[in-house]
């Protein structure tokens, strides 16, 4: 299953929400869709889920256009919106059963599908509870369950972790990893970027409707931080170390944080070895010398400007 977003453009009156973006993702992988508020993430996701008609461009799911065959897209895409279910007087089981009926599942097939989803999302203990009485985490599970009812090949999740407590976020992350193992193509938008780093294979960074970066997490990390980020901890003379590093050629942005000195080093890996040798030779008692890895949050802060439309 392959999802291709092709030159997608969406305009609301004078506002360009999505400005001719193209990317694609495949089954078995989780792709993060990252951007500040108003970047065009939700609009793009709603187009993929056939809830919006693009101004131009298209989205192909296994080569089938969502504009031309929206019914095909509805059968293959499970969409988890950023709003939680608010139906009154409906229990969890009835809610899932309703969507199973709405997707055209009949008889025992419907019962099996609902049961499987209830077990997978871990809502079997709250089946008779009313939707409105659920916590945010549980509502999110029910929403995910609803999207999984037709067993879709593609899952689009819009801010699924928003407002969840740490435990619920960990549980959601585990569910997503399991879904990726089931060969589903998953596109997920979230503001909790450290979590995306852990579960995503690839990432699309978008701002003002335009793509800023795309690629695997490692590629994007490398591209956005070309210099080696390093950290040195010495047993004493921290201020002398900072002065020394500030005067050293190829060292950029040296700063002291909690007794450790962080900096970036230009050039090849051999240079860090030379630098360490030089520091030891100058009498610094180096207790720790390590490379710090930038995460998605650092990249996000580097490449975006926080602009909205």
């Amino acid at each position: 299953m392959k999802v291709q977003v092709q030159a997608l453009h969406k305009r609301f009156a004078r506002t360009v929400a999505v400005d001719t973006i193209s990317f694609s993702f495949d089954s078995g992988h989780v792709f993060g869709f990252v951007g500040p508020n108003g970047a065009g993430k939700t609009t793009t996701m709603r187009v993929i889920a056939t809830l919006e008609e693009p101004t131009s461009g298209d989205v192909l799911i296994n080569g089938v256009s969502v504009r031309e065959e929206p019914e095909y897209a509805r059968r293959t895409v499970g969409y988890v919106p950023d709003s939680l279910p608010a139906h009154a007087d409906v229990t969890v089981h009835e809610y899932l059963d309703f969507f199973a009926r709405a997707y055209g599942l009949r008889g025992s097939a419907r019962g099996d599908a609902v049961r499987a989803v209830e077990e997978f999302t871990g809502v079997t203990t709250i089946l008779d509870k009313q939707i409105k009485a659920l916590s945010k985490g549980m509502k999110q599970r029910v929403t995910l369950g609803r999207a999984l009812i037709p067993n879709p090949d593609v899952l689009i999740l819009d801010e699924p972790a928003a407002g969840l407590d740490p435990r619920a976020r960990v549980e959601l992350r585990e569910l997503l990893i399991l879904l990726a193992q089931q060969k589903k193509a998953i596109l997920i938008s979230s503001h909790i970027l450290t979590e995306l780093t852990e579960i995503c294979n690839g990432v699309v960074i978008i701002e003002r409707g335009k793509i800023l970066e795309t690629g695997t997490i490692d590629d994007v990390l490398k591209k956005s931080t070309p210099h080696r980020a390093l950290c040195v901890r010495v047993l004493d003379r921290q201020h002398d170390l900072l002065k020394e590093l500030l005067q050293t050629p190829n060292v950029v942005g040296a700063r002291e944080v909690n007794g450790e000195v962080y900096f970036e080093l230009e050039g090849e890996e051999a240079r860090s070895s030379e630098l360490l040798g030089g520091l030891v030779a100058k009498g610094f008692k180096v207790a720790e010398f390590r490379q710090t890895k930038a995460n998605l949050e650092d990249i996000f802060m580097n490449v975006t400007k926080g602009g909205v439309q």
Binding site: A7, Q130, V204, D219
Partner: protein, 512 residues
């Protein structure tokens, strides 16, 4: 066997299942049902005890010696039932649907394979099931009244049928209001006069039921006067119901679907059926009123459709463009019915022009008294004012369209509709405002000829000025049509089957 298999595989509409489950749990439904039951019970008990006391312990001879206790109780029950079914149930269904739409839950329904038509049918069926439930609650009490004297079964059956049909219409009207793409406040604002109308319907139906109960309908069942009135009411109600139904479906259909087509097809079919029926009445009975009513209703719809048509915009979704026929003749027909301002304006104009053309021809025909009965008179004023209103509306819409496309192309298509309403408003207000500041505004000046103002057509002192309005409005419409010809031709040329462009596939994201 295949039919049997289909029957076995048949399942209730998912929306009905959900709605009924919600209704069962809802305090509103349970509470109203219990209240209804209590009111019926205590009403009956009170009346039985009261009448017994008045009759000195014997039910015989009560009700003024007419032995009509059953009828008296039914006369109290029917307004209660009518109130519940005509106000509470439609209100309940509408509030549910409006709440779902405001919470974007209908969006969620779109991403399933449920069609908008099934969603609306589900909501409607739920309302009908609730009505049946309330009727069922009332039924034992009604059966008991039949054991008393003074009421016959056909009368009860016809009165209940009338209430039931009116309720179905009210539920559909409530669904229509709930589907309106408006804010909650605006919907409440619209709902208030509709509730007022509902209350007047309750009063009207109660009055009709009283009349039927007093006079009895059993003896009239074989007469044409009864069935003629009844069938006309059912036909009008049915056409209104159908229109509200297709309009509701269109309103919740995705913007990418060809949602105007069912509405236009339905209105065209209704226009034809209505016209044929009115003509039938004229030929059989020599009545001109149905034809005039048909024309007046058509004109109201044409005016509304012109305003809606001009607000539609020129862009057509790929889904709609794909369905445009390739055959030239079919494509021309499709042009009038598919989404798009040009098609919408052309369709409404054609409908209005054909109606008025037919009426003018009929009017000419009437002048020859050897053909029509001397008593039949086609009022020329009515025809002239209708034509002027149509021409003015067309001119305003075309003016709004021109102003929008020329000066505000970045604004949404709704702007054209707003301008189409702003032009006549300004035209009517500004001259009178000037007169007001010159201290010359009087009731007489308002009733004098003000060419260009459609409102003046309805307030003319001298009806001879109608011909001036007619000539002016037609010239105005022709002028506006002329300035929009390039736009219209562009739209006609653009109305062709979608050919998919060859977009290069984007590079896939590498994965680790």
């Amino acid at each position: 066997m295949a039919a049997l298999a289909r029957l076995r595989a048949w399942e209730l509409n998912p929306v009905v299942v959900k709605e009924l489950r919600q209704a069962v749990r809802s305090w509103a439904v349970t509470g109203m049902l219990l209240l209804f039951l209590a009111v019926l019970f205590f009403t009956m008990l009170g009346m039985l005890v009261g009448y017994s006391v008045m009759a000195g312990g014997s039910l015989a001879g009560v009700s003024g010696g007419r032995q009509a206790l059953g009828r008296d109780i039914v006369q109290v029950f029917l307004p209660i039932l009518t109130f519940m079914s005509l106000l509470f149930i439609p209100l309940y269904v509408a509030v549910r649907l409006a709440a779902e739409r405001s919470e974007h839950n209908v969006d969620l329904l779109y991403i399933t394979t449920l069609s908008p038509a099934r969603i609306i049918r589900g909501k409607l069926m739920c309302g009908i099931y609730l009505t049946v439930l309330f009727f069922s609650v009332c039924m034992p009490f009604l059966v008991f009244t039949n054991l008393l004297r003074g009421v016959d079964l056909p009368t009860i059956f016809i009165a209940l049928s009338a209430v039931f049909l009116a309720d179905v219409l009210a539920i559909q009207a409530a669904i229509f209001l709930a589907c309106l793409p408006a804010t909650r406040g605006f919907k409440i604002l619209i709902a208030l006069p509709v509730i007022g109308f509902g209350i007047s319907c309750v009063v009207g139906l109660t009055g009709m039921s009283f009349f039927m109960l007093q006079s009895g309908v059993g003896s009239r069942l074989g007469s044409w006067s009864f069935w003629g009135d009844a069938l006309t009411a059912v036909l009008l109600g049915g056409l209104t119901f159908g229109l509200l139904h297709v309009a509701s479906i269109a309103m919740i259909s995705p913007a990418s679907s060809n949602r105007t087509m069912p509405v236009r097809v339905y209105i065209t079919a209704s226009w034809f059926i209505g016209g044929a029926t009115a003509l039938g009445w004229f030929i059989v009975k020599g009545w001109i009123d149905p034809i005039e009513a048909w024309m007046a209703i058509t004109m109201v719809f044409v005016v509304l459709m012109l305003l809606l048509g001009v607000s539609e915009g020129d862009e057509r979704s790929v889904r709609v463009a794909r369905a445009i026929p390739t055959h030239p003749a079919r494509r021309w027909i499709a042009f009038f019915f598919y989404n798009g301002s040009a098609g919408g304006l052309a369709w409404a104009t054609l409908l209005g022009a054909v109606t008025l053309g037919f009426m003018w021809l009929l009017s000419e025909w009437f002048n020859d008294r050897s053909i029509t009965p001397a008593t039949v008179v086609m009022p020329l004023d009515f025809l002239q004012s209708s034509t002027a209103v149509f021409a003015y509306t067309l001119a305003y819409c075309l003016a709004g369209l021109f102003l929008h496309r020329r000066f505000f192309p970045q604004r949404g298509p709704m702007m054209a509709g707003l301008l189409a309403m702003l032009v006549p408003a300004l035209w009517a207000v500004l001259p009178n405002l000037a007169l007001f500041f010159m201290n010359k505004l009087t009731w007489d000046t308002l009733q004098q000829r003000q060419l260009g103002s459609v409102f003046n057509v309805f307030a003319l002192k001298d009806t001879a000025h109608l011909s001036h309005h007619l000539a002016f409005s037609l010239c105005f419409a022709l002028l506006m049509a002329a300035v929009n010809v390039p736009w219209f031709l562009k739209q006609v040329r653009a109305f062709k089957t979608y050919v998919r462009p060859e977009n290069p596939a984007p590079p896939p994201l590498p994965v680790k």
